[in-house]
Symmetry: C2
Amino acid sequence: MLRLSKLTDYATVILSFMAKEKTRVCAAMEIAAATGIALPTVSKILKLLVNSKVLMSTRGAKGGYMLAREPETISVAAIISALEGPIALTECSISEQLCGQASGCGIRGVWHTINQTIHNALESVTLADLVRPAARSEEITIPVASLYR
Amino acid sequence: MLRLSKLTDYATVILSFMAKEKTRVCAAMEIAAATGIALPTVSKILKLLVNSKVLMSTRGAKGGYMLAREPETISVAAIISALEGPIALTECSISEQLCGQASGCGIRGVWHTINQTIHNALESVTLADLVRPAARSEEITIPVASLYR
DNA sequence: ATTAAATAGGACTAGAATAGTCCACAATGA
DNA sequence: TCATTGTGGACTATTCTAGTCCTATTTAAT
């Protein structure tokens, strides 16, 4: 179904909450309470987001997590790849028998294009868009075919 | 990783082969031999493609499978949804606690937008593009923000 | 009619990936 | 020093995917 994982889904919930509280640190337990997601799960997600530099953390008493940058600069693509690794639809979508003869795999090129397109789409939407969804974002167009050149 | 399933991957291989043989029916066994994919697996995929009307089948001796329409009119989106169900990144990406208060879920709207964008991208590439990847497709632009309106 | 060649539909198994939990450790503030 | 909070990694259980197989149905050829 081309689905995002549940953890990624949770991550957007967590980050949406944090974006509203972006001026202060939030403890994992507080986030768990606010979102209704179990603490161990919240904790796991927060760790991943720290590792990928979407969040900053401070340890010790009164510690917690905070956005590492402004919501406007945190793309949905960054969130997804933090949780699920690099965004890539296919490894190489074709078996050797079919495409291997020619020097390069033709179909692979098309997949790469599609992939780029999706990546661009996910890159163009930010956490800020998620928290104020009523606001119109500026017009963004993604040239698909330009990637064929 | 936002990956396509292996079966979807196989499906593109199978359909690429069939596009080249589009004037005649191909038996499942022949396709298995040509692609190197195990027969039961090929069979399963072909059934799914028939159910979603990408392929036509004829039963009985001398039966087999054929493209239901021209490769130009078979989109990658159609192939993916045949194998994986409807293309949808999230069910509803947010838990009730966070978004339920307001009449509609705000974040859901943004996900819908992102989803539309990806769907459009996948809709704009066809089986014909997969089999003749050297050819440049015309310029296609996808307006992301238009969906916010 | 009978037989052989195909697809249709669905059940089933095994393996891999995901979700979720837990624990021992490190860091920090009071 | 102690309570609090994040870190890293191991671990389990559950779900999903891939892959196989069997029986019924349809059709062509003999």
